[in-house]
């Protein structure tokens, strides 16, 4: 019995490692290819010259202005998108749970809708909207944030929904209000601290998505990091690939941080009824 059990555990462990290895190779190969390409020296051999260029932000600014513009725009877009997304979603989702639980399905449907619409179709719809945005707010690339909020909605909704589902929003809100808290206090002091991890994951997801977005920005003729890289690619492919690699690495680090932050702060709510705890009689 025990022997069989051990054999099964071992088989499962082997299987796990095989899966990890295959998936790892699948993701690592293109990255290795990028790394290899960026370190090629003109006459054969290796050089870190490209990476030195990329690391020198000041130099980058003057030598590759299109890249610099893209970086700046993407920075602004990341901040704006995350802010708008949080301000829009967190109170709405909390409110729906507290006051109109019947609307939850509708809200979920609306939030997941962008997932089903290809970016190219989105652009067709957004083009006339952005004609107005340009007319009212000017042509800055930062206003892409409105489109990006729509784009990140499904992912952020999912992340926040998981966080809010882990706590009893309604009871906590009612308990706080019975103790004298207004709606603002309920949000800031009771709900938010308990969905910190979810807010963090939603934000990181938004960051990763915004940093990787190309289609909308390109078709609406705005700047962002990917558009910058693309333009650069036509001039200096090695630098373009190096910057892409750096952006990927950044996203990877963000996700890593996220999973660690999430892992450490997870607090499971123990159900009250089980297990029956013995108290001194």
């Amino acid at each position: 019995m025990a022997g069989l059990q051990r054999a099964r555990v071992r088989r499962q462990a082997t299987f796990r490692w095989v899966v990890v290895a295959v998936v790892g190779t699948f993701f690592a190969l293109p990255l290795l290819g990028m790394l290899e390409f960026t370190t090629r020296a003109p006459g054969g051999g290796r050089t870190a010259a490209v990476w030195r260029t990329v690391a020198d932000l000041g130099g980058l600014r003057t030598t590759y202005p299109e890249l610099w513009a893209g970086l700046k725009a993407s920075g602004a877009l990341v901040v704006l998108t995350v802010l708008i997304m949080l301000v829009l979603l967190v109170p709405t989702m909390t409110w729906v749970r507290l006051r109109v639980p019947g609307l939850r399905r509708t809200i979920e449907f609306i939030c997941l809708l962008p997932l089903t619409i290809p970016a190219i179709v989105l652009v067709v719809g957004l083009a006339p909207v952005y004609a107005w945005v340009t007319y009212l707010l000017g042509g800055s690339s930062a206003w892409l944030c409105f489109a990006y909020v729509v784009l990140v909605l499904p992912y952020c909704y999912r992340a926040l929904d998981a966080g809010l589902s882990a706590i009893d929003v309604r009871t906590l809100g009612e308990a706080a209000r019975s103790l004298g808290a207004g709606w603002g206090t309920v949000m800031v002091r009771v709900i938010l601290p308990n969905v910190r991890t979810a807010v963090l994951s939603a934000s990181f997801l938004a960051v990763a998505l915004v940093l990787g977005e190309f289609t909308i920005a390109s078709l609406l003729h705005r700047d962002n990091l990917q558009v910058g890289i693309n333009q650069l690619g036509q001039r200096d492919a090695q630098v373009a690939v190096a910057v892409s690699f750096a952006a990927l690495a950044l996203a990877f680090v963000l996700l890593l941080v996220l999973s660690f932050a999430g892992g450490r702060r997870t607090r499971t709510l123990t159900p009250l009824a089980t297990p029956p705890t013995q108290e001194p009689a």
């Binding site: 308990a175 019975s178 108290e279």
Partner: protein, 350 residues
Amino acid sequence: MTPQRQGVAVRLEGLSRHYGAVRALDGLDLELAPGEMVALLGPSGCGKTTALRLLAGLEDADAGRDVVDGRDLTDVPVSKRDMGMVFQAYSLFPHMTARQNVAFGLRLRGRSSAEQRSRAGEMLELVGLSSQADRYAHQMSGGQQQRVALARALAIEPQVLLLDEPLSALDAKVRVQLRDEIRRIQLDVGATTLLVTHDQEEALAVADRVGVMRGGRLEQIAAPGEIYTSPATAFVAEFVGLTNRMDGVAADGVAQVMRARIPLLPGSVASGPVSVLVRPESVEVHTQRDGEAEVVAASFLGSLGRVRVRTADGAVLLAQVPTGGAGVLQVGDRVSLALRPVPALAVSRD
């Protein structure tokens, strides 16, 4: 200890509330004397929680008023009502320790941190949890969490305490222990208290008065003993405790049932054929070889036992018998029956 506060009078006047087609509350009138503890009891869906939530201000009434200490609170928001609430479960703020939970209401009221700390300490001591002050909810048992919730509700010195099935998520032993403790603390603090429960034993054990609800209205409200011994309606008689429906004939305030004459309670049908609601403990069972009835089921409940007997005319009666001593009843035993002349309610036969 904190200054002893005497509770305030609470009056619910004609409270109504519907959800779609469901009339959750249908003109509920209820009065609580200062410092009194009233338990609302009733079947699922009868509107107990709705009544409590209307008094708390968590829901709005369609009609009616809540008057507390002579002040009409109907339009006052929850956060301004100063009522302590304890919920069924999961109400502790997960990111705060027990002490921070208890101090939360005081913090909102802008008390100094020294005062918050000392009062939270006092409250935790009151519920016997001083040693757990720095624990989080997930580090405490269900019973401890509910104690903290009680301490938190009491920390704001509420004049009214609202408890919505605070014990229903706990296991039986903790439930009994904690309910007695809640009663002790309630008497100690003196807050007027409304306890919602579906557990009749709990209601009868701790409340000054028990209100039995049905279909959004109060069916009867009276002291626990009275609810049990003098139910006003068949619904109350059958909801609280166990009853037998026995055929009889009523006349002049007495019903003839089997060979016994049972005095009738006020509200009974006065004459003619009736069903008399007889408690199991009023049915005496004696072992007798040629008895007219037969034991069809017997259960042992510790200090007493219950048997089901089938009479000659086929009716099945529930009787309560003392356990121990000689003559333990077995299924199949022949027995004779007698009724004690304990006042009972007679209703028309259906």
